[in-house]
């Protein structure tokens, strides 16, 4: 197993280096950063001084090495808009976005897995039809529309929950954004759980378990669910990247001070250092999460460990 994990770790490092090259090259394609930093009335002499100050007068490969060295040390330069270290700004926003993603996944798993299981067990029943209709809606409704609708109904009409902001980090402020962000995930997870459960429930070993006289609870939870969860874990890794993309819109709607909102502001203001810091931090986060999920796989399904070691 350690050989497998070492290989996966090395893969992760290569991916991160690839991302750093992409981030660096793309940022250079967008034009001369100095023309973005200074006003149109800045003299050529001042521009040259700034270019030197930021190391932009060096050859591109040398600039990349400096960028990589800085990135390793968490130094992406100062934000053009805030005049603060870019990485510090990103770090300040990580707790809010992490909480948002955590609660989004929590709702998604807490609601979707029972719905998926029940729909599979009660296939073609009224519950199944209603459940699958809602999952269809969850996957179809755009998050910006759902967010505004939740604000209008839950926030303004019923006045049950805070509409926007972070408050003191209390859970009430996270419910609406995480439900908005989680609607698609809930629907996806519920559909995958259902189809996966249906497949597993028809397998011979499940029939055998039933024939042995085991209770339905044991058959469903112990024998079927464990195998049915493998596809969920797979898409969980993929969906974390999707959630980061979704957070950009959701955080903007709910004025939720996370990385997504900072990304939008930084793009509007062409705040290069912050954009680079965000892309690198998020990418590393996604690569690290997928690495962790690879480890989790080996616990859920020993065959994976066995096959890969073989």
């Amino acid at each position: 197993m350690s050989g497998y994990l070492t290989r996966r770790f090395l893969h992760s490092i290569i991916i991160i280096i690839g991302i750093s090259i992409a981030v660096f090259v793309i940022s250079r394609f967008t034009g001369d950063p100095v023309s973005i930093m200074v006003g149109p009335d800045t003299s050529q002499a001042d521009r040259a001084t700034i270019r030197k100050e930021f190391g932009l007068d060096r050859p591109i490969p040398v600039q990349y090495l400096f960028f990589l060295k800085g990135a390793v040390q968490g130094n992406f330069g100062k934000s053009i808009r805030y005049e603060e270290p870019a990485f510090r700004l990103v770090l300040q926003r990580i707790p809010a976005t992490s909480r948002l993603i955590f609660f989004t996944l929590l709702w998604a798993l807490v609601f979707s897995i029972p719905i998926g299981i029940l729909s599979a067990i009660k296939r073609n029943s009224f519950f199944d039809v209603v459940g699958m209709t809602f999952t269809f809606l969850g996957q179809s409704i755009p998050s910006f529309w759902l967010g505004i609708m939740l604000i209008m109904t839950v926030g303004v009409y019923f006045r049950l929950l805070p509409i926007s902001g972070y408050g003191d980090g209390d859970i009430a402020h996270i419910i609406l954004p995480s439900l908005t962000l989680g609607a698609f995930e809930m629907a996806s997870f519920a559909r995958i759980t259902r189809s996966s459960m249906l497949e597993v429930l028809n397998m011979d070993y499940v029939q055998t378990a039933r024939a042995k006289g085991l209770s339905e609870l044991i058959v469903v939870v112990k024998h079927s669910l464990r195998n049915a969860l493998i596809p969920i874990v797979t898409i969980l890794g993929l969906h974390i990247a999707l959630l980061m993309g979704g957070a950009v819109i959701t955080e903007q709607i709910f004025a939720y001070p996370g990385i997504g909102w900072l990304a939008v502001q930084s793009i509007y203001n062409r705040d290069f250092p912050v954009i680079q810091a965000i892309v690198m931090t998020v990418s590393i986060g996604i690569v690290a999460t997928n690495f962790l999920l690879d480890i989790i796989y080996t616990f859920i399904d020993p065959r994976i460990r066995y096959v890969r070691e073989k």
Partner: protein
Amino acid sequence: MRRKRIVLGGLLLISSLIFSILFFGLRAQPAECQTRVRVAQGAEPTRLDPDMHRENVSNTVILHIYDALLERNQNEEIRLNLAESWRFLNDTTLEFKLRKGIKFSNGEPFNAQVVKYNIERVAGLLPGAKKTLNPPGWESVKEVKVLDDYTVQMITKYPNPVLLSLCAQKYMVPIEYTKKDNFESLATKPIGTGPYVLKSWMKGGELVLTAKKDYWKGAPKIDEVIFRPIPEDATRIAELKVGNVDIIANLKPDNIKEIEAEKNLTVKYAPSARTAMIFINTEIEKMKDVRVRKAINYALDVPSIIKNVMGGNAYRVSTVCPKNFVGWDPQEKFYDYNPAKAKQLLAEAGFPNGMDATILTPRGRYLNDVQACEAIAGMLTAAGIRTKVNAVEFGVFAKQTQAHQIPEMMYAAWGNPHFDVLETVQAVLRSGEMFSWYSNKQMDELIDAAKQTVDPKKHEDLLRRLLRLMYDDPPFGFLYNQRDIYGVNKRLNWAPRPDEDINLYGAFLK
């Protein structure tokens, strides 16, 4: 079978229990405080160093923390503030007598040395200090002399008629506190002599100010002011409706009825310092003829654009000078809406069959910019100037205008921090300027003369002469200045200002 039902029921019960607890049990209860006011703006402040920003969102916070030597009142007239008196000793020497006994919130005294230090910083005369981001004009200062603890003189290289206006925007920062780290702390931990002090600031979240009970002009009537950035219009409106915020800025005309329908809310208006105009590119041969430019003005039904496109949220201007600006002419004349005359002028100019033209506009930068241009293009086309609208993103628009490459016409709304039309004409009319596509020697001379004249009456007379010339030889299609719209909770007694700053000193809860 029975067990199965129990299991299923249990799963449902647990799910609904978690949902109920989270949904109903954890509703945030806003803390009640009679003298707390929340303001929602579209963005958050960048830095709280008053000299290192150029935007209203930051300025709205900053003006509560700091004081300037002078200030603008609700009507934008310049009044005394930290200064007890001012006088021009000659065209290039301005003397201030300062108020005594005023202290910064960290205990440092306010005196003539502080003024010298501050003005030298923004004039680029303070050794080791970074270049600041104040509006242009401070570079005219040559020297700052301290005569005694409470008397200071500013000596300029040439007469500067907007020097007083600059002094009304230059907030004073303390010496010792800023010397320690070359102004670094000021960005996030501001220290001023103003009516409020910063209590907390969570980036992306709430910025909380608390009232200074011993403020030298008297304690503020609102104990706590909270600024929140809410970028989404619909969310800002929703927060106002539920009472979580008391003022929202940048309300769109389409949302006015929605706010007015709420019994606890009202809509407030202020004329903006932003004047919309059609820049005519006289560097293109066919636009050089004054008859073509007059035809453009006769073709425009400006009151109709204000009513139907701007929803009534604009005030017509005869040229480029709104009523509350220095230079406004009480005897101003407006072009009539007369498409027949426009056609006749075009024919006289050698275009009996009309002409083709394009109008460039940014998309979404100014209030209803593209819609206004569509209406303008329709009116011009009806009068014989077949106009196409080229609406582009602001980045593209800025790049084209800065490269001095525009088609026959361009729509833009020009801001003016000094409420003096000189600022506008210097930038958009003076020959050779980046945003000027027009050249007129007589007008240039008047601009240069006004720039050198600090005597208010003579200064204003020169500008009025200029505006009359401009009316006769129009370099622009004359339009309107915008109206800023705010949604406000009726419990708050507060009035908006033309400079877009939201000032809560003096406001109170009913």
